[in-house]
């Protein structure tokens, strides 16, 4: 089967920091791939190249087998890639509904271009449906400003935005960071549901237990390079942690 996403030999430097060194990975249709690595390993940089936030210095990105040039976030979104970034992807001063449709507002009189009036009825209605789907317990009006929400609620809003546009590939950068138990469970449930719905996911996380719970495959990065990958089936926490840290933890534990 042709992979949904293939990244080949991607490199990216910021000044003299080389954040990515010829990194490659692929995600198959309906597959959940966990991207692992210590702080500063280059995980966020890699997914920012895929989602059009950064332009790679070298390397190729293929979507459904076709090489694409993703120059802007807009092009990534149009290619079916929805990304939930690590550093909040919501505008806190805006309402839930306005955030859900940011950049893709439904409009009436669309010939007016950017000046077209937003179809606020449609926005409120879809916002209500989505809020019910992500299972936020508290009754939230779509007009509530995001600044009034908890971290977990914000994460759920960001996730429901990815759901709503039914992307081919959903990228989540540390989606369970700072979340409570219940909210973390919600995120993991969302990942499973999306996978069952036929979507592919690339999930960055530091929590190996979550990898075992929801991922099919894992990819480990260290200092900008992809250093290991493997199937989750048959792996255990200690084995994966050894790969992340680059030392043999099992040998240490047994000694």
């Amino acid at each position: 089967m042709t992979p949904v996403l293939e990244v080949e030999n991607l490199s990216k430097s910021f000044g003299n920091v080389q954040a990515l060194r010829s990194a490659s990975l692929s995600v198959a249709p309906g597959e959940v791939v966990a991207l692992l690595g210590d702080n500063g390993a280059g995980k966020s940089t890699l997914i920012k190249c895929i989602s059009g936030v950064h332009r790679p210095d070298a390397g190729l990105i293929r979507i459904d087998g076709r090489t694409v040039a993703i120059r802007t976030p807009r092009e990534a979104i149009d290619a079916g890639i929805e990304t939930i970034h690590q550093d909040s992807s919501l505008a806190a001063d805006l309402s839930i509904a306005r955030n859900l449709f940011l950049g893709r507002e439904p409009t009436r009189l669309s010939w007016l271009g950017a000046l077209a009036p937003m179809d606020r009825g449609a926005m409120q209605a879809s916002a209500r449906t989505l809020l019910a789907r992500v299972g936020i317990r508290r009754a939230l009006a779509p007009a509530t400003p995001v600044s009034a929400l908890s971290g977990g609620e914000r994460q759920s809003i960001a996730i429901s935005r990815a759901m709503q546009f039914a992307a081919r590939l959903i990228i989540l950068d540390e989606p369970t960071n700072n979340l409570g138990v219940e909210e973390t469970r919600g995120v993991l449930r969302f990942i499973r549901e999306m996978r069952e719905g036929g979507h592919s996911l690339l999930v960055i996380t530091h929590n190996v237990h979550h990898v075992l719970a929801v991922a099919d495959r894992f990819v480990v990065m260290r200092r900008g390079e992809v250093v290991a990958e493997g199937a989750v089936a048959g792996s255990d926490v200690l084995g994966i942690e050894s790969l992340i840290m680059g030392v043999d933890l099992k040998a240490g534990a047994e000694a």
Binding site: A91, A92, L94, F101, L102, A114, R120
Partner: protein, 331 residues
């Protein structure tokens, strides 16, 4: 304490917490207060005078409100306000072109200044405070240079454009200028853009969380550059209206207007740091500062002391907004 604090405020309280509504209440108090303290505050002459001045700073304030909402400043508006009319008067009086063509050239100049401001801010990444501080000096310097520092000969030739910009008519002893109609129309347009249009959602999002707007594919740079150009064009329009009204263009016209306009916008409840803007609040701010300027003199405060009051009321309003924000309101 937690029980009462976490309960949603009842509608009137929630409304009062909106910064623009709080500003509106204070404006009404000020208007009533001046009316009681000075019998001539509501005379046709004073009302007409306030209505004539209001659009001039008000037009700039509309643009500044949108720009601040997107998280940027423009300090060069006062200089553009002075510079563009000087250029237009020189071109028209030199006989090289008609007044209409001269206004087009002046507007193009203003748009170019806005474009330069915008490009330097978004493409080079210098803060708009610094960029527009520098262009303010350059534009003001240019105004002084082209006029050699003197006000230009007065302009009295009648023409349609001039009537459209600065004509006036009388209703029941009240002199109403055409600029008030422009101001009203542009106020409605600005309110529509900010609150109802797709562009308005982008502007607020950019000021609230630029990275989030970028990640959603919002054309952040184009929006910011466009706003800088719009503010500059509005400053030129305001400058022309003012110059035609008094039939005079001076290279020092509009000095310190940039600060007064920013004060008006912020007093109305727009966040100086971006993300939240209100056109209603901006209009309230424009009216409030105007009313205070006129009212304070009419109730007999010595002319030289009134700036103290203007500064004082701005401070009071900002304290009110900060207190509202801390109390959990919108901000």
């Amino acid at each position: 304490m937690t029980a009462t604090a976490s309960r949603a405020p009842s509608p009137p309280v929630a409304l009062l917490r909106r910064p623009q509504i709080a500003s509106l209440v204070i404006l009404l108090l000020v208007l009533v207060g001046f009316g009681l303290a000075s019998p001539t505050f509501y005379s046709p002459r004073n009302v007409g005078n306030m209505l004539a001045f209001m659009p001039e700073l008000g037009l700039i304030a509309l643009g500044m409100c949108l720009l601040l909402t997107a998280g940027e400043f423009d300090l060069s508006v006062g200089a553009v306000f002075g510079f563009v009319p000087c250029v237009v008067f020189i071109l028209a009086q030199g006989g090289t072109m008609g007044i209409g063509a001269a206004i087009l050239v002046g507007t193009a100049l203003a748009l170019a200044i806005g474009l330069v401001n915008g490009l330097l801010v978004v493409k080079i990444g210098i803060s708009s405070f610094l960029v527009t501080l520098a262009t303010m000096l350059m534009v003001r310097g240019a105004a002084l240079y082209v006029t050699q520092g003197f006000p230009l000969d007065s302009w009295r030739a009648p023409s349609t454009v001039v009537t459209l910009l600065a004509g006036s008519f009388e209703i029941g002893g009240l002199r109403v200028y055409a600029s008030l109609i422009w101001f009203a129309a542009l106020t409605l347009l600005a309110a529509y853009i900010l609150n109802l249009s797709k562009l308005g959602n982008w502007i607020s999002a950019i000021g609230s969380n630029r990275a989030a707007a970028v990640a959603r594919g919002v054309p952040v740079d184009a929006v910011k550059i466009g706003l800088f150009m719009a503010v500059s064009a509005l400053a030129a329009l305001a400058g022309l209206i003012s110059a035609f009204r008094i039939s005079n263009a001076s290279p020092v016209a509009g000095t310190n207007y940039e600060l007064e306009v920013i004060a008006m916008v912020v007093v109305g409840g727009t966040a100086l740091t971006g993300g939240y803007g209100t056109i209603l609040g901006t209009i309230v701010g424009v009216m409030l500062l105007r009313a205070i300027r006129n009212g304070i003199i009419m109730i007999g405060v010595p002319g030289l002391a009134y700036t103290i009051f203007v500064g004082g009321i701005i401070l009071v309003m900002l304290i009110v907004h900060a207190a509202l924000r801390r109390a959990g309101g919108q901000g």
